[in-house]
Amino acid sequence: MGPPLKCAAATKRLVTRHYLDGRYVRHYGKTAWVTSGAPVELLKALGFFVLYPENHGALCGARRAAEALCRESEAAGYSSDICSYARTDLGSLLSGRTPVGRLPRPDVLVCCTNICQTVLAWYRVLSDHFNAPLLVVDTPFLYAEAPPHAKAYVLAQIEAMVEPLERIAGRSLNQDRLKRTVKYSRDAAELWNRITEMGRRKPAPLTAFDQFIHMAPIVEMRGDSRTVDFYAAMLRELEERARLGIGAVQRERARLVWDNLPVWHQLRFLSEFFAEKGAAVVAATYTKAWGELAPLLQESQPFEAMADTYLHVLLNRGTGSKLDTIRALVKEFDADGVVFHSDRSCKPYSIGQMGQRDSVVRQDGIPALLLEADHNDPRSWSRSQNINRLEAFMEVVAR
């Protein structure tokens, strides 16, 4: 592995501070729990402290706390076939355990269906548990271009959220503040996009594993000036590394693209495995998804911008669109292979991967691997089998 990124300390500080704020927010403000693809700008502009159960789940996964929490929810009757983020979150709720100390109770729940349908059931459970109101944004699935009626439908739902949210927040929406928040979101997303694009350099100054670690702010702290400042500093560091020719992987010999969520509990193992083989995972569809929609976030019409952005997230588009994304990444990042993480817990992301893998291998002649795992539940990780597949795949790539 190359030298670690200096911004790691800042990421840790930012995320720790965020959860620390959460512990005391009840004394001065209101809290919203939201899905990762929710129109957070509206909530931020109304002064809500925003918590992402999915991000908290990922944090539990990376700190190896998820399995015990999943078991808690399974003991309460939730099936092990349910998404492990949901099981981690519900397990944390039922047991009161979390590596971050304490999570603030939600005053409102906002669930957007653009990432999956599981969130609908999950957030209803949360709503029952906390006796908190639930607001749902339903985003029609896009097989191709978004039809005007889909945009109008999502726009109407976001506009309809203003009144109940104002009531819960105890304040009115300030349009200037909303526009400012949308701009912060766009600025951060643009910076994040440029950060992920740095993987095009040879050697790549960062890997997808670095991106997985440093993506927490773009997911859970969008619409915040501190997030913009943080990513501006991270980009400067990466540009400096690229200028000096410092690679994230020493003696980079192969370049790979990653599809799907990370395997949080194996992040270190996988990054070290690839690094030892001289393989840099230079791009990931998952991290790209948090930057690619930046141009849609135009603050001049903040509601239209939110509707357009959250309708077009990667998981709300057809599998053909994901294949196009993968092919573009292979080409633009000059990749030698693709690793498809078949994520037992994320069906919307994993469906279509067999066909996508076939297209990449047979039509494009690019080696590709289907790696079966689960983003948060280590019980779905077969170590020896997966090492065998990974090693065989690297023998094909490195030939």
Binding site: M354, D358, V361, R362, P367, A368, L370, E372, S382, S384, Q385, N388, R389, E391, A392, E395, V396, A398, R399
Partner: protein
Amino acid sequence: MSETAPAAYGLDVGSTAVKLVGLDTDGNAVRQSLEPTEPALQKQLGRILESIQERRDGGPLPLVVTGYGRGLVPGPARRVTEITCHARGIFQLFEREGTLLDVGGQDSKAVSVGPGGNVLDFLMNDKCAAGTGRFLEYTASRLNLRVDEIGPAALQSSGETPISSTCTVFAESEIVSLIAQGTDLGAILKGLHRSLVQRLSGMIRAVGFRPPLMLSGGVARNDAVVNMLSDAFDCKALVPESPEFTGALGAALTALEGRP
């Protein structure tokens, strides 16, 4: 096997058996041995390694280790996966590009073999016993038969009972109830083989079948499996004389040629 001393070795540490192949400088197999994998595998491997002759100058001979237990082999041996080794081994034997199916004791793999025996693509079933040799071993023992008896018994049967279960454990329950209904044993065995072959065929199609179909691994000794696969793909499946040594042969070739 000739008396010539090997110049390179390949060791395939599989879940069912440990296979060793020694090649002379021309790539001819001059030593070949197989023993069942023992629970004290490390000790067993130590003994096998001791038996490998050293070069005249006392240095170790080139050795490549493959198979699930390859990580257990100490020393400077190179480790290469069985996917690469089986592809190289089968290419050496048949000198053909095509599709390789290796059915081992613990897993099965379909490999698209390209020029020079290079792996173009591969798919593995390493999670479910129903697509592996274990399926036959398990069900054979339930019927009080040796694993080498079930293929011929299935071939002799004119009838065939469909086994609907796709799971080894559930297939056993199904067999129990079929026996209780007085179903003919040969018909049950034929159904069991069909069930395995259907699973394997799915994997071969998924990797993109290109003829010929070549088989390796111990299950390739089962004629019922070979015949049914040949029928399924409408081409005579090619089976090496000693299919279980294909991986060790590929490993030995890799050692001899010093290939990555």
